[in-house]
Point group: D3
Chain length 138, copies 6
């Protein structure tokens, strides 16, 4: 299988069905943790593709694209933290500061490693944030 | 009500529940029309907020933020068109080229007007694209 | 005095000596709150220039440039929060999360208003962060 | 010859005379396929330089710069497609949608390979678009 | 004539034939003053459209788009100055430093005014640089 | 020591105290050579970290991050050259054009090599510019 084919196959695999939201009932509004989640899935996919390949140039691309995607994860999370969440949310969910801090740190760590469990941890932390986010929307 | 309060109120209104996907069963993968959809909702919200306000500085901000958000809509749609869709999808859905062309043109038109129906039409066109997108995922 | 002259004069005023660091002994390293501080000074200067002018086009520029500068403030602060500060710093300075949250929220508020006291508050909050930052460097 | 010298030599080679427009009579207006063409030449030059070198760090740079340049090609082409071309142009040149789709896909493929013929194909496709563009300008 | 129509008409006017290069024989290479020239034409067009309109929102857009385009002019000129021109060019054309300094300053001034003669001066200065550029290519 | 540990250690080393300004008395205004200086320190740190490592993926990251940081150095220097310095400064300091040209060329050269002396030379040239800058502020 050629390199191009391998990439296309990998992209197909990335697109395989996974749930974006912990629950499906009310994905709403202009703020949406889905934005960070999508980029985090991309980060993890870059790690997986990197590890499944032994083509050096392809690995270089996986590493640099992962770098950009992880930056986008951080950006979307920071926006959510600063712009969406308000003092009353913090009162109800005092763990929010720590959660966002950890999740953005995980995005930074995911740049430095191709360990897919770091990518998965990042996704899990975003899902935890998303859970609280949708809670506040009820 | 002060200007700041009005903005915060407006932001709250923007965040009111609306469905992101035409159907909820399988929001999946790294490509997701939700990215364009979210920015399009933001475009329409900028039009609404602009029209609901008579504060000149606030209107300036609504116009320039709408400009950026409409650019993001275009970008996400273009990526979807070029990167996600493949010849076999075009064969099954020959209207795709025209659909993307119209939708990205609507994003451009939404920059030039505060007519909320243009923002709504943009959202509707993205929903039509999303319908086909999820069709190809089955 | 022509508009151009007025702008140049205003820029000169902006450049008037003010201390960047709360203390001068150890400005060091690649992380430096001076990056956020400089952009925050620019935010406040945009507010001042906006208020000192009655030229409509000039005010439009002041508002949109302020928007960008406030985004840079947020970005530099977020990077500092997530990338520089570590668990041991949080233990010694448990107020850090709240401080960063408030300061980035002030940057957002400074976009929405030309009240110069909001720009000043943003600078003061960054100085408070800088104080802790240099504390951790000792 | 040192690495730096090699790069400078390569840059000189890149700058060797080639025609930007299929015809020279009317390069005009703010829309101009030359913007996409210049970046596509840069993409092909990155492939050539990558292949002519065996310095690992240099190759890494060629790959990541190619990535950015190919993104710019896509961006300029998308803008042309959505913003410049109008329904009457499509009527006269019904192949336009397909042409732009193929060309932007070639830009994406050029990221994934250092096969210089892909870079050349990208340039050829842009030249074909440019031919139609200048046709519409007559 | 509606606002949208007016914009489209204005865009058509912008696209009216003008020569991109001072001479047509050798538009070549990856460095090309045409990149700065195209953006400068856009800057001047924004000034013209601004002055021809009395629609307030449209003028806001003209001012902010001009701001971005002028930044692109500066960027393309700076790249040319630092990256393309070499010591031997400076020896043959000792006015280059001053020319680039003036031209990038004109781009800055064009942000601050809608005086179309400033936009034209910017274009003229780029043409002067382009003349030298193509001289060095012979 | 694991790769992550090595990176964190390296980051700590980067943050070691060094003076940002040639003199400490008047760090002032919205223009400040510190912005270019900080990014140049980051460029040199990337070279050092690259050379201290034998982890291939880490080196790829060091090279691409250095590329971005060197771009920021150039940008901040160009802004200073075009936007801050005025004809009277040039009269008093006629070497300014050449200094900025050399320093931005050094930033370009620092992209192409991991020779730490190039990173150091870049820092030294910025310090020379900073010396003149603060001179003009007196």
């Amino acid at each position: 299988m050629s390199m191009i084919d391998r990439v296309l196959t990998a992209i197909d695999k990335v697109s395989a069905p996974t749930m974006i939201h912990a629950h499906c009932d009310l994905p709403c509004g202009v703020y949406d943790p889905a934005q960070a989640r999508l980029e985090a899935q991309s980060v993890k996919a870059c790690q997986e593709k990197h590890n499944a390949s032994d083509d050096h140039d392809f690995q270089t691309r996986a590493i640099t694209i992962k770098e950009e995607r992880a930056d986008l994860v951080k950006h979307h999370l920071w926006v959510l933290w600063t712009d969406y969440f308000k003092p009353e949310h913090l009162k109800a969910h005092p763990q929010l500061h720590e959660l966002f801090w950890k999740a953005t740190k995980s995005a930074g760590e995911a740049k430095k490693t191709n360990d897919e469990s770091v990518g998965q941890r990042l996704i899990d932390e975003i899902d935890e944030i998303a859970g609280i986010f949708w809670e506040t929307k009820k």
